[in-house]
């Protein structure tokens, strides 16, 4: 093995460490600190008060079994997380499977993979507002359905509803599932699959006993991505839900907009804690570093 002094690693890793210290660790500390500050309409003042956290959880214990706003918001966001995760998992897995096991040439695989990523080069903002002409009351889908005689009243629930939020989320996030799962799948030794087939396993059995267990890492990584993106989102839920559906991120953004930084910081810390808890649960399934 090449022997460099261990010290080379330190200065090689130094820029990375520096960036994350200044732009990640310190900001988090700043957020934690500010969450204890007080505020007026135009300034924030150093203090050490728990008011912001108390406000965030206003009447949460008292009003049980009715849920308070914070609980309800997180529950709603978690619900979306779960549904989106399931759908993106199924679609992502299927597409990855197709790309890995059914496409033989690398070039075709590359081209198809790129095909899947090109839509993301159009600004996210523009893509989202284009759902409205598609799904609105006078939109393309409704007009086709009415034209085909499937229904005589436009379907309201296509837009500004849970359905449209989930649709938009799946649209944006499936690719986050495809990439890690495809990565894991491509490292499955093909001879294992052959061996299973030779031993008489059916397609489904191969899937269940060979492919899925070996793709566990990819599935876990993809799930982590998707769940954290949905938990922290405020743009998609807002736009696609007609601003009527709450999300944890939206609460924070509204407060930032009103310059109420300390309570926004408190809510941010709460969101952080919840996301970390979810990740901690998921991470039991894999050791990311090793499995890469």
């Amino acid at each position: 093995m090449i022997t460099h002094s261990r010290r080379t690693s330190y200065w090689q890793a130094a820029p990375l460490a520096a960036v994350f210290l200044v732009f990640f660790a310190l900001p988090l500390l700043a957020t934690l600190m500010v969450s204890f500050w007080s505020y007026t309409g135009y300034s924030i003042e150093p203090a050490l008060i728990l008011d912001n956290y108390l406000d965030a959880f206003d009447r949460c214990i008292v009003s049980l079994p009715d849920l308070c706003t914070t609980f309800r918001t997180y529950l709603s966001t978690l619900k979306f997380c779960l549904i989106v995760w399931l759908i993106t998992l199924v679609i992502g897995f299927t597409v990855s499977f197709y790309l890995t096991f059914h496409i033989r040439s690398t070039t075709t695989r590359l081209v198809l993979a790129l095909l899947c990523t090109i839509p993301f080069w159009t600004s996210n903002v523009i893509r989202m507002i284009s759902w409205i002409p598609l799904l609105g009351r006078n939109g393309l889908v409704n007009q086709s359905l009415i034209g085909l005689g499937v229904t005589d009243q436009p379907l309201d629930w296509l837009l500004y509803s849970d359905f449209s939020v989930i649709l938009a989320f799946v649209h944006i996030n499936t690719v986050f599932m495809i990439v890690p799962i495809a990565n894991s799948m491509s490292r499955i030794d093909k001879s294992l699959v052959e061996a299973a087939r030779d031993s008489g396993a059916t397609g489904w059995q191969i899937l269940r006993h060979v492919i899925i267990p070996l793709s566990k890492t990819g599935i876990a990584i993809g799930s982590i991505f998707v769940i954290t993106v949905v938990m922290g989102d405020f743009i998609t839920i807002g736009l696609m839900g007609g601003q009527q559906i709450a999300s944890a991120g939206k609460v924070i953004q509204t407060q930032i907009g009103a310059l109420q930084f300390p309570i926004a910081a408190a809510n941010a810390i709460v969101l952080l804690a919840i996301v970390l808890m979810i990740i901690a649960m998921l991470i039991r399934f894999i050791d990311i570093r090793k499995e890469l």
């Binding site: 090449i2 460099h4 261990r6 080379t8 690693s9 330190y10 090689q12 890793a13 820029p15 990375l16 960036v19 994350f20 732009f23 990640f24 310190l26 900001p27 700043a30 957020t31 924030i44 679609i91 299927t94 597409v95 499977f97 197709y98 059914h102 198809l112 899947c116 090109i118 839509p119 993301f120 080069w121 159009t122 600004s123 996210n124 903002v125 523009i126 284009s130 409205i132 002409p133 598609l134 393309l140 649209h171 087939r197 991505f225 954290t228 922290g232 405020f234 944890a248 991120g249 924070i252 953004q253 930032i256 930084f261 910081a265 941010a268 952080l272 996301v275 990740i279 570093r289 890469l292």
Partner: protein, 300 residues
């Protein structure tokens, strides 16, 4: 058996095709609607067909400073990409050996990936606000004129904005580097060593050329992530806007299909850039084949 494979093959192909259609639905809508006639609105039905909105776009939309925002995004994207490649390459090299604090660093990087963007953005904004308040306070206590009248804020496109983007692109860059180095066969380096190459020569003439196509992947990824980034930048860019932020601002005031024209144009540019990147990769590969090496097959 081969028959069974083809059946599921066709089934899955249909699923894949549907998925791609689903992916492209909004893009197709945007392209179609951008050809609306001059009286067209933002929705169907089409009110005539014309290039009117492309002309409108070219004339500057009638809303200020889209071009400025575009240039800002390009500048920022370029800087972010270069920094991402360099820093993640260096860090990737560092992680090949174990060193003290590596786990902490690794988990911090991963944490940055999974933390909600608005939390990171808010954090950076607060950090810089505190810096600002303190600088101004110093300026006042010591009556430093240059601070009092000239200092606006430490926040800016290339300071806090750059940092915000880096927290998003570096984790991806690092993870890709891990994937690259995990598959990298270090016997090439050993061979170079045995032939008497110095560390730098090994790096420049053996390591880099082999991983070059993958680095192109990092470049593409880094630029894409930075180009369309809005959640993290929203609070952190300071006074100058990037393109996604301006676009979001535009959707607050523009009520005509010119936005769709903009979308079509950006899609077209993306196509061009990806084709260009592909061409570069193919070119590198062909060149390598010509020179008799078979290293670097495949993208990663």
């Amino acid at each position: 058996m081969s028959e069974r494979r083809s059946r599921s093959f066709y089934l899955l192909s249909i699923v894949f095709a549907l998925y791609v259609l689903f992916l492209y639905g909004p893009t197709i809508t945007i392209v179609v609607l951008s050809f609306q006639g001059p009286n067209g609105g933002m929705t169907f039905p089409m009110n005539g067909i014309s290039l009117h909105w492309f002309h409108n776009l070219w004339a500057g939309i009638g809303v200020p400073y889209v071009v400025d925002a575009l240039l800002n995004s390009l500048k920022l994207g370029a800087v972010v990409t270069v920094l991402t490649v360099v820093i993640s390459l260096m860090a990737g090299l560092a992680f090949r050996r174990s060193f003290r604090g590596q786990s902490v660093l690794f988990y911090t990087v991963v944490a940055s990936l999974i933390l909600p963007s608005i939390v990171v953005s808010l954090g950076i904004a607060l950090e810089f606000q505190i810096i600002d308040q303190n600088v101004k306070a110093i300026g006042d206590t010591y009556e430093i004129d240059v601070i009092q009248s000239g200092y606006q804020t430490a926040m800016g496109l290339m300071t806090s904005g750059l940092g915000a983007h880096l927290t998003w692109t570096l984790p991806f860059g690092l993870l890709i580097m891990f994937a690259i180095f995990n598959r990298f066969n270090s016997s090439y380096e050993e061979a170079a060593r045995d032939l008497g190459a110095s560390s730098w020569q090994t790096f420049a003439h053996v390591l880099l050329p082999i991983i070059a196509p993958s680095l192109v992947g990092v470049v593409l990824f880094g630029f894409t992530l930075s180009w369309d980034e809005i959640a993290r930048s929203s609070q952190a860019v300071g006074a100058d806007n990037t393109l996604p932020i301006t676009l979001q601002g535009l959707t607050t005031s523009v009520t005509t299909p010119v936005i769709y024209a903009l979308g079509t144009v950006t899609t077209g540019i993306s196509f061009a850039v990806i084709l260009l990147a592909l061409a570069i990769v193919v070119f590198i590969q062909k060149r390598r084949l010509r020179h008799g090496s078979d290293a670097g097959k495949g993208l990663v």
